[in-house]
């Protein structure tokens, strides 16, 4: 994507689903809202690729982790709002726990080296 000297803002491989689930666990959002929230909360470290995001939303909804609803936005436009389902919440717990486990393992490895 970016050239060598640009900072890598790609979402870490395999974490997009978890980031979406986490973001939606706070409040229902539409696609762009999710992308902006991830960007804001990560303080610009992650920029979400719109194509990947929309495809992922479709997939997660199909999997039953998200519910989708067409709603009017504040500027009276039709937008698809996603919210977390009960199974989605469980899935988030699983993925978060898994992620923590991996990250601490990586951290330990890095520490041991340093």
């Amino acid at each position: 994507m970016g050239s060598m000297d640009e900072i890598n803002t790609d979402v870490i491989q395999g974490t997009l689903d978890m980031l979406i689930l986490k973001t939606l666990s706070l409040q229902p959002l539409h696609g762009f809202g999710i992308a902006r929230r991830i960007e804001q909360v990560s303080r610009g470290v992650f920029k979400v690729n719109p194509g990947s995001l929309l495809t992922a939303l479709q997939r997660l909804e199909r999997a039953g982790w998200l519910d989708a609803e067409w709603r009017q936005t504040e500027n009276s436009r039709r937008a698809k709002f996603y919210s977390l389902t009960r199974t989605g919440r469980k899935q988030l717990d699983i993925e978060a726990a898994d992620w923590t486990r991996r990250v601490s393992a990586v951290a330990r490895l890095l520490k041991a080296e340093g």
Binding site: N49, T55, E61, K80
Partner: protein
């Protein structure tokens, strides 16, 4: 979750537009929001939209990806493939029609044959634990099966330990009177346990009471569901009431369920008890005649072999309680056969070979279709190359081709069902009358499943070869002008043609051998002259015919009336008619030895005839005289014996004047003549026979065959003959009218049936092989136009070009024939039980088939060769 997948997926399939619209709206909304965010950061509106688009990338691609999140996208691909396949096939109507037709014929024929063979040979009989149903036969000295006597049955019910139930039965054809029109019914006289042996409970009323199964017991009948509806108005109040059969009252005690199949006599509709004497007064009684069939239900947990040992033990050891006459001594043992094997033994080899033949036909048809697909693949090479160049993956192309072939097969299969429905009707019409379980031959679920199965297998099978060819090698080469690339395809096509020719040859040889056999069988002397002889069975029934004298008088008067009909040369009555297909009527014969005890022999056929019988059938006189007017009711009792009996028992001594005793007849008959042997049950049979004058026999037969030799066209006499008989008594049934020639033909029905099926299949195979040869040569000529043009330009004569093509075609044919001859020599061994008087390597048949196949192949080569010879070199060279 599964539910969500399903509903959303189905929405994607059925409300495709709405689902697509949703995705488009979502993408559009995202773009709007992103653009708004960019504007908020200070970009101009146009720049903001551009930046948002840039971030998103290809909007169509994103929508496409979103759509692929669901399973329905794979379905969509399938639908797209299918749509494309339909379009491709419609754009080539000729190719599609020929392929579908070939497949429909092959699938339809195979399904029809399967529907016939499956219920007869492979499905169990329609009874609970049908594998336990067995048939027990007496064994004659030469090892063949013989009907059992009631005495043997009685002994086995007491002494055998292997069976739950045993029953004996014989056919019974009572006339039902007392309601509206009299009707002759088909039925059986059975012992009390018959329905317990079959294991089928009654639907209404009660089963037979064993206490009634003795002389003088209550006369009861159980009727079929069909008869219950037809004659008794399905009135359950009729249970316990009586109906009149043969002039006597019988109480209806029960009704069999709808759909009950009586495999031992499919047309039987009424059953009564045999009522034989459990303690027969003498060996001369009917209880000791070999005329009953015995069925048994094996006890659970007992093997057939154990039962066989049990029976052998009973046969070997005699008991004081059960004394056996010499003709039912069981000294040769008893035969135990599974009921299904017994029912199918006469047709099994024929059906299996027909099944084999249809599979060969199916294989040939598949070869032909593969060939057509390959030829079409050659035309479409450019198309595939372009699609590959545009990024179609190889598996995707293969899938496309397989979709096409499966679609072709499915259309062919659907048409094939129609062919099968038609084929089954032909099979049932052609099928020999002794084909068991005829009612089970129909297009049922099993047949549909079978058809679908072979259709799918064929669709994938025939598609695979062309698909592999199309996806093999460098597809890009197709875009360039290349003539070498089709070499592999050609090799496959040539192999297929060789295969087709060899398989067709196998079928042709089979058909040829069967035709020869049938001709040999029909050339067997029946012992009489069937030409210009009309026959019909004339019956009498009712209390009026109680006294024998009335019956005899009735037949005598009927015969006189028949003789007065113009066009009648000879007319006679006989108790049984040769080759009529009825069970033979045979009794043990005892010959009076010189002064000593009578010497008992095996059963001989009994014919109670009137004088002109021998003239009417032209049965030759060997010694002595025929029976005639001298042999009247009160005169000295005479008999005429067959040559085979005279030879076997008297071994050369003069039989005239010797005396025989026959069946339950207690007094002696003096032999007055010897006549030629007559085939009774089949053209192969050679049974001894004894002829007696009907008025001199111990009872008066109530069903006799009228045999009339006409002066001219004999079939036209039938109405006049019936009128003549009815002029004596209009209420007596006349059945089974037919010429002697038709009886002879009917006796070879299984052979004829197999032969016709083989002939039909061989003919289709020949046509398919010929089109295969034609197809490859025609395609070859088209592809080699340039080469042929060059050859002609370089001075090759038309004759040389002609021979070039013909040589190629005949080369393939010759190769196929060599393989075919070897295969035929092996495969025709499977036909050996169906052949008669012909070796499986019969040189005449093989030579005939070779000539026929060569001629047809030459014809198939002719057209392409002629076209090749007419190629104008100037024109072809210009187009290149």
């Amino acid at each position: 979750m599964v539910w969500r997948q399903l509903t959303r997926g189905l929405r994607g399939v059925f409300q495709r537009r709405a689902a697509d619209q949703d995705a488009a709206d979502e993408v559009a909304h995202y773009l709007e929001q992103a653009a708004a965010a960019h504007r908020a950061r200070g970009l101009s509106p146009a720049e903001a939209v551009r930046a948002a688009r840039l971030e998103l990338g290809n909007a169509t691609g994103v929508r496409e990806q979103m759509r692929e999140a669901g399973w329905e996208s794979a379905f969509d691909d399938g639908v797209a493939d299918l749509r494309y396949a339909v379009r491709r096939l419609r754009s080539a109507p000729g190719f599609t029609a020929v392929t579908v037709l070939t497949l429909a014929l092959a699938i339809g024929t195979t399904t029809a044959i399967f529907s016939a063979v499956n219920p007869i040979l492979f499905e169990p009989l329609p009874y609970p634990h049908a594998g336990r149903l067995l048939v027990i036969d007496d064994r004659s000295q030469d090892g063949t099966a013989l009907d059992v006597t009631f005495g043997t049955f009685r002994e086995l019910t007491q002494r055998s330990r292997s069976f739950d139930a045993l029953a004996v039965l014989k056919s019974w054809e009572p006339t039902n009177t007392g309601t509206d029109a009299p009707e002759r019914l088909n039925g059986q006289q059975v012992s009390a346990q018959y329905f317990r042996v079959l294991g089928v409970p009654l639907v209404l009323g009660r089963d037979f009471d064993p206490a009634d199964d003795r002389p003088g017991g209550a006369r009861t009948v159980i009727v079929s569901d069909a008869l219950f509806r037809r004659r008794l108005g399905a009135d359950s109040g009729l249970i316990g009431r009586s109906i009149t059969l043969d002039g006597s009252p019988f109480t209806v005690i029960g009704v069999m369920p709808h759909g009950f199949e009586n495999v031992s006599a499919p047309s039987a509709e009424v059953w009564t008890l045999l009522q034989y004497d459990p303690a027969p007064p003498s060996f001369d009684a009917r209880e000791w005649g070999h005329h009953l069939r015995m069925v048994a239900r094996l006890r659970s947990g007992v093997s057939v072999d154990a039962a066989r040992r049990d029976l052998a033990g009973v046969a070997r050891t005699s008991s004081a309680e059960f004394i056996r006459p010499p003709w039912a001594s069981l000294k040769s043992g008893l035969l135990l056969t599974r009921l299904q094997d017994r029912l199918t033994e006469t047709v099994r080899p024929a059906l299996l070979s027909v099944l084999g033949a249809v599979l060969l036909l199916l294989l040939i048809a598949c070869c032909n279709v593969i060939n057509l697909l390959l030829a079409r693949g050659a035309e479409r090479e450019g198309e595939f190359a372009i699609r590959a160049a545009l990024g179609a993956a190889r598996p995707r192309l293969m899938r496309q081709l397989l979709t096409e072939s499966v679609l072709l097969a499915l259309v062919g299969g659907a048409c094939g069902i129609a062919v099968a429905a038609f084929g089954i009707r032909i099979l049932v019409a052609l099928g020999p009358a002794d084909l068991p379980r005829m009612v089970a031959i129909r297009l049922d679920t099993r047949a549909y499943v079978f058809a679908l199965f072979i259709t799918t297998v064929i669709g994938l099978g025939v598609g695979l070869v062309p698909a592999l060819h199309a996806s093999r090698g460098d597809l890009h080469a197709g875009l360039q002008q290349a003539s070498r690339r089709s070499a592999g395809r050609h090799r496959t096509r040539r192999t297929l043609v060789i295969l087709e020719v060899s398989l067709a040859l196998v079928l042709l040889v089979g058909a040829g051998l069967l035709v020869h056999s049938l001709n040999r069988v029909l050339a067997l002397p029946p012992g009489f002259d069937p030409a210009q002889v009309l026959t019909m069975q004339v019956q009498v029934a009712g209390p009026r015919f109680g006294p024998d004298s009335v019956t005899h008088r009735h037949y005598a008067q009927a015969l006189e009336a028949v003789r007065r009909v113009p066009g009648v040369a000879d007319a006679a009555f006989t108790s049984q008619l040769p080759l009529s297909g009825e069970l033979p009527d045979a009794y043990g014969v005892a010959l009076e030895t010189n002064g000593g005890d009578p010497q008992h022999g095996d059963p001989a056929l009994r014919y109670a005839v009137t004088g002109e019988y021998f003239d009417a059938l032209r049965i030759p006189l060997v010694r002595g005289r025929y029976l005639d007017a001298r042999d009247a009711a009160g005169s000295a009792r005479s008999a005429v014996i067959s040559l085979s009996y005279a030879r076997r028992v008297l071994s050369g001594a003069d039989p005239i004047g010797r005396r025989v005793r026959f069946g339950s007849d207690t007094s002696w008959l003096t032999i007055v003549g010897v006549v030629g042997d007559v085939k009774q049950s089949s053209l192969f049979s050679s049974d001894d026979a004894v002829y007696v004058a009907a008025p001199q026999w111990v009872w008066a037969d109530h069903a006799r065959w009228l045999v009339v030799r006409g002066l001219g066209a004999v079939t036209a006499l039938a109405p006049a003959l019936k009128q003549a008989i009815w002029s004596v008594d209009k209420d007596q049934p006349i059945v089974r009218v037919g010429t002697m020639t038709t009886w002879v033909a009917a006796s070879t029905a299984v052979r004829r049936f197999t032969m016709i099926v083989f002939e039909a299949f061989a003919l289709v195979a020949l046509v398919l092989a010929a089109t295969g040869i034609y197809g490859i040569l025609a395609g070859g000529v088209t592809e080699r136009r340039r080469e042929i043009g060059v050859r002609t330009a370089l001075g090759a004569s038309r004759r040389e070009i002609l021979s070039l093509v013909v040589r190629q075609g005949m080369g393939l044919t010759g190769f196929g024939m060599v393989i075919g001859l070897g295969s035929a020599a092996l495969a025709s061994r499977a036909l050996v039980t169906l052949l008669f008087g012909v070796s499986t390597l019969d040189p005449v048949t093989y030579a005939g088939v070779i000539v026929l196949l060569l001629a047809v192949a030459l014809l198939a080569c002719g057209v392409p060769a002629w076209r090749a010879a007419r190629i104008d070199p100037a024109q072809t060279l210009r187009t290149e």
